[in-house]
Every structure is written in structure tokens, then in C-alpha cells.
Amino acid sequence: MPKAVIFDYGVGNLLSLKTALEKADFSVTIGTSSADLADADAIALPGVGSFTAALDRLDTVKETLQKKVSDGTPILGICLGMQLYFESSEEGPGAGLSFYQGRVVQLPKTVKVPHMGWNTLNIIAQNPLFDGIAEGIYVYFVHSLYPAPKDPSVVVTTTEYGTTFTSAVAKGNIFGTQFHPEKSGDVGLKILKNFQRIVVK
């Protein structure tokens, strides 16, 4: 069974993600240090807290994380976890991990924020993370910002809410979703199982 390490920024609920990854046939540990990440077959960056606070917590493991990822370890960023992949965020100061070029921006003021609830995915590009996931399927969102990648080829899904925004990205072994697969019922579980298959391969 592949070993997934969830990086803990020190706030909020990690139990749902841990349980969901276990259901997707990972053995899961929660990690806070470079040593914890060392033998991970996969890394999950969860979606709790704020951009700047999370970057502070990531600071001590940043180099290890970047090394692991450039060595090919699959990583799944969820919500804020994915936003950290980008260069900067309108939410607060700090340089992101810069796995992707682009910026994280606020949802428009014309809609209620946070964008909270079940919304649909437009599948823009085929990706193994979304194997068997149909166009228009509902997944669960809770967020106020979204990523604006510079390179359109990394966009896997988009979603409409006041604007059409990027709701999932993928590039090589670096995967991210703006929605919460661990809160998206059977659909989310399927996505996490796809992630597990990618890791095992």
C-alpha cells in the first residue's frame, strides 16, 4: 500500500482527508517536518488556513518538498493546498511554491463569497486523475479565491461561479483541485482512487 503523508499546517480538520485517502488504499500519516516527508510515496497538501500562515508553516520543509516533487513524487494539493503551488496570492503576502506560474485571485464581488456548496466540473483536458469522471459532475467547494495559471495547458477542469475559474490543474506529478475530493462523496473518492493508481504506477 503506498504511503501518503498529509502535511499539517497546524489548524483545522485533517481527519476527513486522512479517512478518504485511507478509503482510496493509501496508508496515511500526518507530517510536519522534512523527516516526515522523506519516505512518502505521495504527498497531500490539505486545504485549511490562510495562504501566508500556511507558507510560514511550510518554510522549514520547502526545500525537501521541492526536491521530492522534482524527483517525481506525486503531490495532490487541495483548495489552499493547490493555491500554494502558485507564485503569489491576493489573500496575503509571501512567495508560493511556484510549481505553477500565475497568481491566486479573489472571486468576483457579484456572487456570494465564500463559494460554498456543490458545483459542476467542465472537463477541459483529459487527465488520469479524472478517469471515469463525467462532464458536469458535482463536487464540493468552499473557497474565496481561485488560481489563475499563466499556462492554459495545465487547466484540467473549470467551474462557473461569477466567472469561469480553474477548478483543477495537473502538470506531470503535480495535481491540484480547488474543490474538496474528501468532501465530495463517491465522486471525490473516485478521484482519490485515481490518484492512488497514479502513485502506484
Binding site: 489548524v11 483545522g12 480538520n13 478518504a20 488556513g49 465564500p114 473557497h143 462523496g185
Partner: protein, 266 residues
């Protein structure tokens, strides 16, 4: 498009669901974990647990079933009832709840909303408002025209037992500024009546805040949910008895709303 949410609510006392348990095929009626799983399987979009336990062991009891629910279902759920501070909130959030709802504590100590939002993020913080229509014209209150005349909406605390003199609509606007990420608005006039949600109350708040509003109190038939989504501009509708007694199971309500043109998750 963002779907309207259907939210069954479960009242819990000493770790057992206490109101209206009629899923005959359940082995352990009243078990919050089993009932959560059942609603989740039926297609509920989210769940709310209101804990009425009065015991010094409340925290341990809550931690146990919240963790059980978090492991059993993969849809979001909120826990409320006696959450007074960051430590109470951490107890349930770290046990696996996605959101906490605060009610009386927020009215008595509004800065707690900001404290909670700063620590956990505003998307975790639901401010619950129990409101009752007040027909006495009062200076400074936001008056609304209703089929039964002009009213303002008064916040009640302690489970709807204590009128506060506070205008519910103004309170919602203030609580949003303090960091509320969502509102759970319950009509004390309609709660338990099955006469339908208080449309005017729901709309008054929903139109004045820029965060989601869950309407609560009064659901008796599926049409009531349609009315509160369309007329009341609610983002989510909470109900208890129509689901518990299996009168209108979640799939039946969802089918009806979908046929009526409401955006509902399949």
C-alpha cells in the same frame, strides 16, 4: 452552476439522535453515525448536528460521535449547540466537523466570531440566528411588509426562549463584518409548525449579506423548500421532521425540486 443544498438536521443528546427517528431498516435508531450515513447515501448535500447535551462530559461525548461521523461520511457537516469559544470549536473541528455554528455565545460576545474566523477561517464559522416576528413598531428596527402586516425580526437566544431586543437583520449584517462565513436562520414562529419557512425573514437576511444563508424552521412539504429557494433566496434549506419520519425522503424532495427547475445536485 452552484446547486441549492438540502440539509437534514439531527438533534443530539448524550450522543444519541433524539428527534424523530423512523428509519425502520436502521439497526440502531438514534445512532448519529448510522443516521448520518443513511442521509449521506440518500443524497443529502450536507448535515447539521445540534447538540443539546447538558452534562459536564459534553466535550468527550461530542468528540466521540463527531469523529465517528467524519469517518463514516464524505460530505460536509456542521456541529452546533453550546459552542462558546475557540477551545469548544477546536474540540469539534479537530474531531472532524467541517463547520461550527455559534448562536447565543455570538450574541453575548460578538468578538468571538472574529476570534473563531481568525483561527479556523471564516468558511468554518456558521452564525445561527433564531428570530421571531415582532409586530410592535420600534424605532431603529428594520420593518418589513408581510401578508400579516409590518414586522421586524427579533433575535432570541437560549434555544429561542429569550427575546433580546436585537434586530436579526441588522445583527446578520454586523456578524458578517465580524467574520461569519454563513448564516443558519431559524424562524421561531415557524419551527415545528410545518407551515413553511419564513420567506420574508430569509429573504431579508439573504439580500443583505454576501455569504450563504441556510433557511430553517417550518418545512412540511417539498413545495416549502421550493418557496424558500425561489422567493426567500436561500442558498440551502434545513429540515428535520419531513426527512426523519420518512414522509418525504431526501431523494423525493430532490426530484421534486429538480422538476421545478431548481439547480440540485444529482
Amino acid at each position: 452552476m452552484l446547486a441549492k443544498r438540502i440539509v437534514p438536521c439531527l438533534d443530539v443528546d448524550h450522543g444519541r439522535v433524539v428527534k424523530g427517528i423512523n428509519f425502520i431498516e436502521l439497526k440502531h435508531a438514534g445512532d448519529p453515525v448510522e443516521m448520518a450515513k443513511r442521509y449521506s447515501d440518500e443524497g443529502a448535500d450536507e448535515l447539521v448536528f445540534l447538540d443539546i447535551t447538558a452534562s459536564h462530559e459534553k466535550r468527550d461525548i461530542m468528540r466521540q460521535y463527531v469523529e465517528g461521523v467524519a469517518k463514516a461520511i464524505s460530505i460536509p457537516f456542521t456541529v452546533g449547540g453550546g459552542i462558546r469559544n475557540v477551545s469548544d470549536a477546536r474540540n469539534v473541528l479537530c474531531s472532524g466537523a467541517d463547520k461550527v455554528s455559534v448562536n447565543t455565545a455570538a450574541i453575548e460576545n460578538p468578538p468571538v466570531i472574529t476570534e473563531l474566523a481568525d483561527v479556523f477561517g471564516r468558511q468554518c464559522i456558521v452564525v445561527a440566528i433564531d428570530a421571531k416576528r415582532n409586530r410592535t413598531p420600534t424605532e431603529g428596527k428594520l420593518m418589513f411588509d408581510t401578508p400579516s402586516g409590518k414586522v421586524w425580526f427579533e433575535v432570541n437566544t437560549y434555544g429561542g426562549r429569550k427575546p433580546t431586543g436585537i434586530d436579526a437583520v441588522a445583527w446578520a449584517m454586523q456578524a458578517e463584518k465580524l467574520g461569519a462565513g454563513e448564516f443558519l436562520v431559524t424562524s421561531m414562529d415557524r419551527d415545528g409548525t410545518k407551515d413553511g419557512y419564513d420567506i420574508e425573514l430569509t429573504r431579508a437576511i439573504s439580500e443583505r449579506v454576501n455569504v450563504p444563508v441556510i433557511a430553517s424552521g417550518g418545512a412540511g412539504v417539498p413545495k416549502h423548500l421550493y418557496d424558500v429557494f425561489v422567493e426567500g433566496k436561500a442558498d440551502a434549506a434545513l429540515a428535520a421532521s419531513i426527512f426523519h419520519y420518512n414522509q418525504y425522503p431526501v431523494p423525493v424532495v430532490k426530484d421534486y425540486l429538480r422538476k421545478m427547475g431548481v439547480t440540485i445536485r444529482q
